[in-house]
Every structure is written in structure tokens, then in C-alpha cells.
């Protein structure tokens, strides 16, 4: 079981779908030889010629390859060459979707689908690297790249922040506004929440790439909402780590918004914002008490498609995994449980699984019914997954917790979280 929970190293290739011309390659430092790239494309093309779609394969040594063609124009291939790697098809598939979304966000769909000059497309694609690399590295400390649910930070009193955001957004001639702390959504306007969840995740990731600067005006295309018409993402760093974003049209200019609106609406809230920054390690209000045996958790609201995740910070007693490892374990367990039992959340009706992917056949899931709970025991930790109509909870605990107690700890944690935060 232990080998299963080891992350591998990833390689990402992008080619034109029709002619197989390599467009870019990202990931581990040494580049794959051209012959390998050619073969990976060739074997996919061979399948195509036989009327079959090659979707993924596993090598003898445990490596994995996943192919996907987007809009019949661009082929993305993810390769995980690590021996005994734990990387699941699901993770690689998510990586390909996220990569495509990054490309659309920066360049727009038209430029990708109707590219006439390959050399120019290659050059333009360079502007996507920063965002794509962020997803290759695991998109910071969130889980949104995997869950496609917006990573949130829950604050005790969101009221004043929500109010300031709503009025600020309105004053910026927009309906789409969002406040992020360390890349996690604290409050957002109603319209922002109506963006596709992947878009919310993508925009949060984009903001992470700006970390050092004070304000930005970035043209963005929304992969679902506006793939061909660019919008402007204005982002203001109110405090280091606290970013305010609005999506708007031609007006106002960055300068106008910054000099006339930002201070007016946000200066009164500086202390509240500092309070949010203080919570950012935990993502939960201080009033929420977690059982001492909870090393980390991921809670997903299935209806609103929002998620909150946390790992216990600070000194690790011997024998317990360190915080970074806890995060990794939670990610791996999410993939494990979501793909095998609970079903990853896709947009649409809860419980309807994998509707977007006709290549996934029912039998691979193995069940005719919907499992509600699952657990996993390794030499390193114990994990429990729990599903209700409204929520999914993934809980990480030390080995010392008796297996029979996992379920009650998980149910109690879920009700404690939901009742105290209303999440």
C-alpha cells in the first residue's frame, strides 16, 4: 500500500493534433527524445486509423501515459515515468484538462483552434508556461487542481468583507469580484460563484503567479464562459497575500480603479484583512476545534462546488507525517477514493459520475451502487472518506487511531465543521 502513495515526476507534451508537430514540452528537466515524442504521437495516430481512441496506458515499469485531443486541434500527452509511481490516470487527465484551460485562458480558443502559423503559435504558447508550470508543480497548497472545486478560506465574519467586495465590484462596473488570501477564496460575488468551478480554480491559480506585484491588468479568456472574447482581470494586492480581483470590460482603467476605488473601499478593512491572513495556514476560523487526532482534512461542498482543506501545522511528533506530506497524502487519498468509490464531483447533478468523459466505462468503477464511506490503512497513516448528499469529507489520521474509531471520528468531524461554519 505504501508504494501506492508515492508521487512521481511528470512530463507534459503538446503537439498539433493533425500533423503531430511538437508545440511545447514542460516538466522534469531533461527533455524526452524526439523519437519518443514521435512514437507517443504515432501510437495514438495508429489507434485513430483503426477507429480507436487511445486514452491511456501503463508501462511495464509502472509508468503511465495519458493522451487527450482538445477541439480536434491540440493534443496533450502526460507522461509519468516514475517506477511504482502512485499517479493515477485521473490525476494525469486532470493535468491535461487544466493545461488546456491555461492555454485557453491566456491565448483564447480561436488562436489555438485556428492557428495558421505553427511557429507563431509555438511562440505565443510560451506565455502560458508560468501558469502551466504551476499546475505541474501541484498548484500551490490547494486541492482545486484535482477537485475542480474552489479552494476556500473560511473566516469567522465574512459580512463586512462581502459588503465591501460587492460595492467595490459594482463601482468597478463589474459583477465579478473575488477576494483571495494566499490563493484561497475568502468572499466572492454571486456572479463569480456562477463561473464554472474550473474557472474559479484557474483564476485563483493565475493570481498566485502574480505573487510579488502590487496590481495587474491581465487579458483573460474564460474556457467555458468566454473562450473567444477576452475580459480584463484586474487584481490588487491589498496586503501581501491578500488579493482583490474583478473581471471587467474596457473600463475602468487599472490606474483609475486603483487610485480612486481601492483605498476608498478597503482601507477601513485593513485589520479584518490581517485577521484573514492570520488564518491562512489553517483555512478555518479559530473557533472550529478539531480532534487532536485529525492530521488533515479536505471538505467539499458538493452543491456549491467549494472546498476547504487544512493540515495540522507545527511540530510533528515522531512517527507522524510532516505537514507537507500530510497534504500529499490527502491529495493521493482524494484521487484514490474519488475515482474508486465516492466519485469525483463533476459539474451537474451530484451522484452522476464522470458524465463528461464517455471513455470511462461503468465497469471500471466496479460498483452498481454508490458507496458512501471508505477507508484506507497504510503503514504511514489512516484515511477515511465520507459522503453525504451535501458534502464529501476526506480525513487523515495517524496510525495510532484504532481502525474501528475512524468512522465515528469522521462523522463527528463533519458535523462539527458544518454546524460551526455553515459551509
Amino acid at each position: 500500500m505504501c508504494a501506492m502513495l508515492q508521487a512521481g515526476s511528470l512530463h507534459l507534451l503538446c503537439l498539433t493534433a493533425s500533423s503531430g508537430v511538437p508545440l511545447f514540452s514542460r516538466g522534469v528537466s531533461r527533455q524526452l527524445p524526439f523519437s519518443v515524442i514521435g512514437s507517443l504521437n504515432g501510437v495514438h495516430m495508429f489507434g485513430g486509423g483503426q477507429g480507436a481512441v487511445l486514452s491511456c496506458c501503463e508501462t511495464d515499469s509502472g509508468g503511465r501515459v495519458v493522451w487527450k485531443v482538445f477541439q480536434e486541434s491540440v493534443m496533450l500527452i502526460a507522461v509519468n515515468g516514475e517506477q511504482g509511481g502512485a499517479v493515477d490516470d485521473f490525476q494525469l487527465r486532470r493535468l491535461l484538462e487544466n493545461t488546456w484551460n491555461c492555454m485557453v485562458l491566456v491565448l483564447g480558443q480561436d488562436e489555438l483552434v485556428n492557428a495558421r502559423n505553427v511557429e507563431r503559435l509555438k511562440r505565443d504558447l510560451r506565455s502560458c508556461y508560468r501558469l502551466i508550470d504551476l499546475f505541474l508543480e501541484g498548484a500551490g497548497d490547494g486541492m482545486g487542481d484535482l477537485t475542480h472545486c474552489a479552494d476556500c478560506l473560511l473566516v469567522p465574519q465574512p459580512g463586512p468583507l462581502q459588503e465591501a467586495l460587492d460595492t467595490f465590484t459594482q463601482a468597478s462596473e463589474s459583477e465579478f469580484g473575488c477576494l483571495l488570501v494566499h490563493g484561497k477564496v475568502v468572499v466572492a460575488t454571486e456572479k463569480w460563484w456562477r463561473l464554472a468551478p474550473q474557472e474559479v480554480v484557474l483564476l485563483s491559480a493565475l493570481v498566485r503567479t502574480f505573487s510579488g506585484s502590487s496590481s495587474c491588468d491581465h487579458p483573460v479568456f474564460l474556457p467555458q464562459g468566454s473562450p473567444t472574447v477576452p475580459l480584463r482581470l484586474l487584481r490588487f494586492q491589498l496586503l501581501p497575500g491578500a488579493d482583490l480581483c474583478v473581471l471587467c470590460g474596457p473600463a475602468p482603467s487599472l490606474q483609475t480603479a486603483e487610485s480612486q476605488l481601492v483605498a476608498r473601499f478597503w482601507c477601513p478593512l485593513v485589520e479584518t484583512l490581517r485577521g484573514c491572513l492570520a488564518l491562512s495556514g489553517r483555512c478555518l476560523p479559530g473557533s472550529v476545534k478539531l480532534h487532536g487526532d485529525v492530521l488533515g482534512l479536505l471538505l467539499i461542498n458538493r452543491e456549491s462546488r467549494r472546498a476547504v482543506s487544512t493540515v495540522t501545522p507545527g511540530d510533528t511528533p515522531p512517527g507522524r507525517p510532516r505537514p507537507a506530506r500530510c497534504r500529499e497524502l490527502l491529495r493521493l487519498f482524494y484521487v484514490f477514493a474519488a475515482t474508486r468509490y465516492l466519485g469525483p464531483e463533476e459539474a451537474g447533478v451530484p451522484g452522476e459520475r464522470r458524465q463528461g468523459d464517455p471513455l470511462e466505462e461503468d465497469f471500471t468503477l466496479g460498483f452498481s451502487h454508490q458507496p458512501l464511506q471508505c477507508y484506507l490503512v497504510t503503514e504511514e497513516c489512516k484515511l477515511f472518506g465520507l459522503q453525504t448528499p451535501q458534502h464529501q469529507l476526506y480525513l487523515l489520521m495517524p496510525v495510532s487511531v484504532p481502525t474501528f474509531a475512524l468512522r465515528s471520528l469522521a462523522t463527528r468531524t463533519l458535523s462539527a465543521l458544518t454546524s460551526s461554519t455553515g459551509f
Binding site: S127, T209, P219, Q237, L254
Partner: protein, 267 residues
């Protein structure tokens, strides 16, 4: 040759501006002196530069209270010359170890204390550096006007390792400024430390300076942290901006009572 068509008139107008000798308005070496410590400590956090959000500014005790003057500075230059790296360097942020294209406008705020030579008054310059990727500028028409809106100074960058970027300077200047505007213009040559790969010679630079009458600064990739490597450029920028403001209000010397030469909203 770096001359391009239609730039002769532009050149002529630049050589007309009387250059003020460095250090005539501000104390160039002040950052080294003991009495500047109290001010410079406000923009430091231990060994590193302090980061300020838009809602923040250096906090000084009441007896040191100083005025802040705000300026917008646009960084212009060919793709890959190091615009983002320069902004990071001047603001004391970590310089990205990998080159990524900037896909829109990114602005960075730098606070820099300056002591005026004339009356010993200390001012905090709040320089907002605007940096925009060249490819984004090409693809989206609204970005360049936004960068030029109410701009006070432009840094034109070229890389010592990329001759084309040096030859592109006249286009950059023509694109971003008018001969008659009152925008402060400085030239910055980046990657000066990579002399093994230098593609632009000292003679080229001297010739350029003679023709255009614009000061040229050289930036390498020294260790971040000390002020010494950014002080010459920041002081020159601050002094030129101050000079420009003094010219604008028609007074050679600002009034100490108001703390600034002209009205600057939003201080």
C-alpha cells in the same frame, strides 16, 4: 546604427533638455549615511526589503513624519530584456530564476527615501513601476495606452547580451513618448554582468548617449539585499522626477512648507 526613420526630430528634441548634473537636487550618497538609517529601516524587514500592499506605506514615528510623493514609471523594452526582473530588483523582491513572459500589465510599488540637497527635507518617493510583456502589448491594443496614461517616467531597457534590443530603443522611445512631453526618460542596460556574452559595446552606449542626450544606467545581477546596487538608478529616477516637477510649477526650488512642488492627488 540605432536610428530609425522619423526619429531625427525626436532626437533633436531630447538633446534640447538641459541635463541636470547628478546630485544637484538630492544627496546621492545619503543612503550610506547614519542619519538615513531610520528612514531606510522602514523599507526593510530584517535583511530583506519590506513588502507593501496597496493599503500600506512605511510607518514613521511622528517626529520623523515625511511627505510621500507618488509617481508612475513605465518600464519599456523588447521581450526578454528583463523588465520584470528589473522591477523585482528595484523593489527588492525575489528575482524569478526562470524567465516567464509577462502576460499583461503588472505594477510594483517601490518606496525610496530621498533627502533634498537644498533644504535637507526628506521625502518618500512612492514609485509604481509598470511592466507589461511585449507580446501582450502586441496582442491587446488597450494595454499600451493604459501604461502611458498619466505616466511620469519611462525606463527604456535594453540587454547588453541582445543587440537587437539595443537597436530597438529608438522604436521604443518613439512608441511610448512624444517629443514635447514632459516625461522623464532613462535608459537601462540590463545583464551587464554577462560581459562574456556582451553584444553591445561601451562605444555603442557612448554614441547613443551623445545622440539622444539620455542617461544610460548599467544593471547586473548582483546579490539582492543591499541598497548599493539599486541606489544609483532609484536616486537618479527620483531626482529627475523631482526636477521635472520643479520645472512644471515654474519654480527651481520647491517650497518646504507644502513638501512638494505641485499638487499630487492621492498622496
Amino acid at each position: 546604427m540605432i536610428k530609425s526613420r522619423g526619429s531625427a526630430e525626436l532626437e533633436a528634441s531630447f538633446t534640447m533638455i538641459p541635463p541636470q548634473p547628478p546630485g544637484s537636487l538630492i544627496l546621492i550618497d545619503w543612503y550610506r549615511s547614519a542619519d538615513s538609517k531610520e528612514y531606510f529601516n522602514r523599507i526593510k524587514n530584517k535583511k530583506q526589503r519590506r513588502r507593501f500592499g496597496l493599503l500600506e506605506a512605511p510607518v514613521l514615528p511622528p517626529h520623523l513624519s515625511v511627505d510621500t510623493v507618488r509617481y508612475k514609471v513605465f518600464i519599456s523594452g523588447k521581450s526578454g530584456v528583463g523588465k520584470t526582473a528589473l522591477a523585482a530588483r528595484l523593489s527588492g523582491l525575489d528575482i524569478p530564476n526562470m524567465h516567464y513572459e509577462t502576460t499583461g500589465i503588472e505594477s510594483t510599488v517601490v518606496f525610496w527615501p530621498v533627502k533634498l540637497r537644498d533644504n535637507g527635507q526628506v521625502l518618500f518617493f512612492r514609485l509604481q513601476l509598470w511592466d507589461c510583456g511585449e507580446n501582450a502589448l502586441r496582442r491587446f491594443d488597450h494595454l499600451l495606452p493604459s501604461c502611458k496614461e498619466q505616466v511620469d517616467a519611462i525606463l527604456f531597457l535594453f540587454s547588453f547580451t541582445d543587440r537587437a534590443s539595443f537597436e530597438d530603443l529608438s522604436n521604443q522611445i518613439a512608441r511610448s513618448s512624444e517629443p514635447s512631453d514632459s516625461v522623464v526618460k532613462l535608459i537601462v542596460g540590463t545583464k551587464f554582468d554577462l560581459f562574456m556574452h556582451a553584444d553591445v559595446t561601451d562605444q555603442d552606449v557612448r554614441k547613443f548617449q551623445e545622440v539622444w542626450g539620455l542617461p544610460v544606467f548599467r544593471m547586473g545581477a548582483d546579490v539582492v539585499g543591499a541598497f548599493g546596487e539599486v541606489a544609483p538608478l532609484l536616486n537618479a529616477l527620483a531626482e529627475s522626477l523631482w526636477h521635472q516637477d520643479c520645472m512644471m510649477v515654474g519654480a527651481a526650488r520647491p517650497s518646504p512648507a507644502t513638501g512638494g512642488p505641485g499638487p499630487r492627488p492621492g498622496v
